[in-house]
Every structure is written in structure tokens, then in C-alpha cells.
Subunit: 241 residues, 4 copies
């Protein structure tokens, strides 16, 4: 585990983008990346999109989403992939052939598909204030789970309802790469920004391995890079860094 | 995680040796291996020693022990390194400059030293019927521990007493690379032989991640190879392999 | 470049096999190997076949031939792949899905196909007394050639005629991965045995880079391992090793 | 070989910097880079220096110069390292412990030193209109040379005289990593900008391997990335890219 602390959100966005570009440039043959939606990567994708747009020398880079909240009706693509398209794939002009959608129909093949494609070179993860990453929330998946379906109880439906204008479309379940699927990537890159992440970063980095903090397991990975801005890092024991 | 099942102890010994030789031959520059003492590797070292003895083309291979039970008096080298010398370093004629001893005096530098040396390319692990590996026994280390000192209570002293002819030499503590130190290696190779390991292999491979089974954490590593003979594999769910 | 000198043909065969097994065991995901036919590898394949036969844990290993002398009529598979089947694929029971045949019909796609498959992890090469490797003989390919077709003049037809009982089947051309195709592999392993290879090994290792010695270019590769028995190494400048 | 064509010098500088940053971020353990002085990298170092300055998370990155033109008197550091300090090490605040100077006193140990340090992860190269790279000019080194000393004839002294205010300081020789030293790096990154490089880029990329064009050998490397702006790429056969 390596903790990189940068000044602010802008630096965080740039350094995270440099990590992804580094993965892309590491090899001429196929490179596989799983990337995150959400709010943390907005700045990073703004930085990254123009570096990628129209660059045919990046045709070897393949993208995977690692979780999905489907629409109940199934009439449109889910929340995660829609976000990724809006934030990155569309502005960066990533060709469809390089986008490998995980959804409610194919989630049971996700791990085998990634293995057959050569494995993930890197996975970029955000983290929630409750210690979740991907769709691995406290009380949902176990550390030993691969990609799986998670049933939504009422609390979860409430939690995800903000994604849906039409509340009829709130689904009964979502799908996510589980902890073992994530840990199978060769490089984990986790980033967090802002004071509201300071407590969970301290817990995740300095605390014990427990199901209650899903992201706590990630520090057992041999190649985990954590990128934080000063606000998110402010509670860390400086002697340990 | 990949589970390799071979017929018997002889095959196990050979396939484990082939894995280690593969690590040695992967690169011309320095290769770092942490290897295990104990009874499981006896056959493997018998196979390996003549392949290594007198081979100056293996001068780039460096060895580390991952735990040590010292003598109380400190008058001689500890149990683990003595075993490794007897089983492998001596018959294989490994030059002293390629042997990096972990002991009670330098254990606090072990993780930094390995990092500075470029990290471990592979670590070869045995497993106990109680799920321990290295000196990580149930009730001793936590998943988050790096290399550490473990105090020996009376039960532990009893357990290790067989190693000491002179019972005055039973130590108050031992040292071991902790779970995080082990998980930091780029490749974990764990092997087990015989019916008496069948139950723990089922628990370790199919069970949950728990401190009570220290080796359960190992399956979260992105590159774990488990080598078993048929007897040790006989309780495994064949559909999962 | 690293030169490994072993005692005799038997050791050479074993050490070469250990290198290939090491490549197979380096990763759980797909591994791509190009391997050689001819007389040098006979002992190696005898050693290797039982290690591979019936081992479903080697299902991720894919094989490529790097040259082919087709039959004029095209009524049967060519000389190289037939040799490889007889020496290795058949005795080792390698499933057809793991064998990627290069022949006169698909040679123009060979480089792209290998790139799309992730690139060659290793290529095992023999060497002729004239410095040829694969079908790169003096006066045929240029260093800059990728996989290509080589026309057979009368001298070449004479040279390859021993492969054909029915002399009507001697072809007008053969196909081969060219120097650049070979140099694109991540690891080159070249082996040679016997006194009749001593002169070319000295020339190849110690001499200049010249089209007249096709194998001379190989020493510019960042990861070339040369395995020789003492007879093949006997003319080498010992100070340089 | 992969050829990346970008719009202009500014893009070239940024993409080259992204490649170097990618190398730095590929691993937490030591990373070794050999980098170029001269005019092509000026824009890149301007981009790179602020990304590196004051970043203790880049303490694992080590730098090597690959050639040196010493002062005759030996009273000050040579031309190349002085340039690198001015262009990059000083503005980026790279600590002295991470700078590994090649000079006239230690050039004979350069290859062994780099090997002992784990090998070069990447080397960034410029190219001259005559096809030279590092100090490998037409008529100086052979493809088979490792790091070596090159005597300066009158023409060479004339050529390098612009570097010296005091003409008494023009040396009789310079030192350079030779073709084999360079080819031993795991990743070659070569960049060129401007119309005055268009002809040599065509020759280097599309022409044959010849001593007269020293850089022609580089395309035999399994991992060569060439970064060009449109002006430098304008003569290339577009069908081949």
C-alpha cells in the first residue's frame, strides 16, 4: 500500500489521471481498466477526456464498469454505465468496441470474461463515507464474493432513489463486482477527496479488516495506491505514511 | 486463486520445485524468494537442490526466511533458518550472500529491507491443520500486522518445545512476517499434502475470511497458486475448481 | 543476454523444459509460447510431455509454430507442425484449441494474430550451424521482416528435400516468422547442443550483427537467455560469460 | 514498435511526460529511468518538473544519464549532466541520492551498475538528423557495444565545440551507453519533433538495419514507443502505421 497525498482536488484529479494514462501506456497490447462513476472522478475525467479523445493510439485500452444499478423496466442502460458515458466515454469518444458493459444480464459471466480478456490491469475505485466501494456496502457482500447480485431492501431503495426521476424505475437489486473480483486486479487505485472522507480514510488505512468497513480489505492487496487530497488525509497518522 | 491438484507427494514436490525454478528463470536481474521450512517441502528441496547446486547462473536469486523461533540464549541460529540450511541451502550450496536471515535482532527492518531489495517475487508457504502459515497462528497476529514479534504463552512453548533438546532454550517469543508482509509478495504459492490437510484446505479455500483461520486471508491475493495432492484436495467442491 | 552453460544434452533438455514450465506457471491468465521443432528439442519434449499430459491446470497455455514448410499439394499439414505434433503435442495431449497453426494460408495474419492474443511471452529457438533460426537463413529474410514467405531456389529445395519422401511434394516456398516477429516476443530462449554448434555459438555471441549470421541480431534483445551444453560452449571466451 | 503521432510540440511534450509519469507510477518499489538532455525534451521537462517537485511519493524513482561529454580539465561536471540539472533535476528538485551520474571515471561500471540496480525500466531517447541517439553517432560505436568511450577526431571536436565557451575544454573523448546497453532497457521511448526530423524518422522507421543509421537498430526492440509530432511524421507511409 502506498498513500499519495496531494494538495487539493485539482491535483488529485490530475494525479489520478496520470495513473490511468500510465496504465494505458505501459504496454502496446491490450490493457484492461475498470473505472468508477460517481462524483470524485468528475475532475479526473475532465482532465482525461481531451488526452484520450481522437487518439487512435489508445485503441488497445478496454474499459469495464464494476457495478450497475439497473432500471426496473430494463428499458434503458443502468445508472453506472450511463454516468460513465456522460462523464467520460462520450466526451472522450471511446469507441463502443472498447467498452465492456456489466449489467443485470451478464453479471454471472463478469469474472470469467475478465479472466479470458487477460485480467484487469488496474481498477480505479472511489470510497464512500461508510467504507463502501463499488456496490460492496456494509451488510451486502462478503469478502469472499465474486461478482454478484445484491437485493435492495427498503433502506437501499431509499438510498438509490435519487438516481431515478421515475420512482417506479427503482430496482429490486443491483449487481457489483465483489471483493474477490476487485482484489484480482493487478493494481488497485483508490482515491478520495475532501474533509467528509477524512474519517473513513483513517479507519480504512489504520483500522482492522472487518466486514463493517468493506474497503478495509483492500489494504491487503500487494499493489494498492491510495491518492488523497490534504483534506481527506488530515486525520492520518503522519508517522505511518 | 488457482488450485492445482496433482496425484501424490512426489508430484507435489516436483510441481512446487518447477514453480520456484520458474520464478528464478523469469528474469536475469535479482529475484527475491521467501521459502518455507517444515515437513511439506522436504521432497521439494530434494528435487530442487541438485538443480541449484553449483549453478552460477542462479547467482541472482536471493532467499529470505519468513519466520524464526530463536534459541533463548541466542547462542546459535534459530530453528527456521537452521532447518532451511539443512534442507536446502547446504545441499544446494547457496552462497551466504544470497541468504537474508530474518531473526530476533532485525525483524523490525524486515519489511523495509525487502521493499528496498525490490519486493518479494514469490513466497512459498505451507499451511498447518489449524490454518496457520509462517508464524501466523490463530490468536497471535492480526491480518493488518507486518513483520512482528509474538510472545509465547505456555501453550505455545509446549507446542514448539519439540524443536529444542535443551528445554532451557525454549524462547519467550518468536518473530514472523505478518499477513500484510506476506500479502505484499507478488506471487503466493501455498502447498499441502496428505489427508491430514484435507479439512483445512476445504475450510481455507471455501470458507469465509476470519482471524480464526489465518490462511483464509490468502485467497484475497490476486496471484495465489495452491498446489495440493489428491489426498489434501479430497474434500474440495469439485465444481468450484 | 544471459548464457547458461550446463554439462550435457540431458541437463540442457531439463533446463530448457524448466524455462518453459516457468513461463507456463508465471501467470494464471493466458500464456503464449512459440516453440521449435527439429532435433535439439527432442530430449526436452521427452522431459516436458509427461509434465504437461493430462494437466488441466495448463489449459491457459497456448502454442504457436514459428515457421512452416508446406507440402506442395497442400494435402497434409506441413513439416514443422507435423514434427511438433509428433514430438510434443501428441505425447503431451495438448488440446487442439491451444495449438495455433501457422501455415501458408494464414501467414500474413500471424503477427497481428499474436498481437491480438496478447503477444508471445516466450519463444524457444534452435540455431543452425549457419546461424539460421526459424526459417531465417542467410540470404533469405532481412532483419526488418515480419512473418513472410520465402521462395525456395534449387539449393533450398535440395536442402529441405530430406523432409519429403515424395519429392513431388517439395514446395516452392516456405513461411517463417521474420526477425522482427521473433524479436517482439518478451523472452527469447535459444538453446544449442554439441560440438557442431560450438563455432556458430562463438560467432553469434561474440561476433558482430550481420545478415550473414541471422541469429546475430538476437543478442540485441533485452531478454535473451541462451542455454548451451559444454560442447556447444567450448569455444566461448570464458572471461565474457 | 508503436508510433504515436500527435499534433505539435506541445502535445509531444505532454505525451512524453505522461509516459515517464506512467513509468514512475507503475510500481511502488524502485523505478530506474535513463533520460535525455538536448533540445527536444525542453518542453517535456517544463511540463514534468512541477509534477515531480516536492513530491516525496516519487522518492523511488532513480535517474541515469546515458552519455557524457566531459570537460577536458575535469574541473566541472560534463555537458549532459549539467544540461539535465538545468532542464530537470534542479527545477524538479530531484534529490541527489536519486541521480546516478555517468561520467568518464565510472563508465566502465555503468552496465553492471544498472544491472545491479534492477535494470532500466525505461530510457527516453532523442534522435539526431543523422540517426544518432545518445553518443552513438555514425562511425563511432558498433551495434554490439555496451557503454564505451569514443575518441573525438577533429570533426567531432568541431561538432561539440558549441558546448564549450572555453575551447581549451573540448575533450578528446566522450562516453556513451552503447546500442546493447540501450536495447537492454525494458522500454524504449524515442521522441522527435519538427520537419527537420521527418527524413530521419522515415529512414529509421521504414529503412533497413544499418550502422550508418545508428537508431535503425532500435526498431528491433520488443517494446519501442516512438512519439512524433505531425511535422516529424509527415513523410511516413501512413498505411504502415
Amino acid at each position: 500500500m502506498k498513500v499519495i497525498v496531494v494538495k487539493d482536488y485539482e491535483s488529485l484529479s490530475k494525479v489520478a489521471a496520470q495513473h490511468l494514462l500510465g496504465e494505458m501506456f505501459q504496454r502496446h497490447e491490450r490493457v484492461n481498466l475498470a473505472i468508477t462513476a460517481g462524483s470524485t472522478p468528475i475532475g479526473m475525467y475532465e482532465y482525461l477526456a481531451p488526452e484520450v479523445k481522437g487518439k487512435d493510439y489508445l485503441a488497445h485500452v478496454h474499459y469495464y464498469n464494476f457495478d450497475e444499478i439497473p432500471y426496473f423496466s430494463g428499458k434503458q442502460e443502468g445508472i453506472t454505465i450511463s454516468d460513465l458515458r456522460r462523464l467520460y466515454f462520450n466526451p472522450a469518444g471511446v469507441p463502443e468496441a472498447q467498452i465492456h458493459v456489466l449489467d443485470e444480464k451478464n453479471y454471472q459471466e463478469q469474472d470469467q470474461r475478465i479472466f479470458d480478456d487477460g485480467g484487469l490491469d488496474a481498477i480505479l475505485l472511489g470510497i464512500g463515507a461508510d467504507g463502501h466501494y463499488c456496490g460492496n456496502l456494509p451488510g451486502t457482500t462478503k469478502f469472499t464474493d465474486f461478482t454478484t447480485k445484491v437485493n435492495c431492501d427498503e433502506a437501499m431503495k431509499e438510498r438509490i432513489s435519487g438516481h431515478f426521476e421515475d420512482k417506479e424505475e427503482i430496482p429490486d437489486f443491483y449487481v457489483t463486482m465483489g471483493p474477490r473480483s476487485v482484489m484480482n486486479a493487478r493494481h488497485l487505485i483508490l482515491f478520495a477527496s475532501g474533509e467528509e472522507k477524512a474519517a473513513i480514510m483513517k479507519t480504512m488505512i489504520e483500522g482492522s479488516i472487518t466486514d463493517e468497513i468493506p474497503a478495509s480489505i483492500l489494504k491487503m492487496h500487494p499493489h494498492l495506491t491510495i491518492i488523497l487530497d490534504e483534506a481527506a488525509a488530515k486525520l492520518l497518522d503522519k508517522e505511518q505514511l
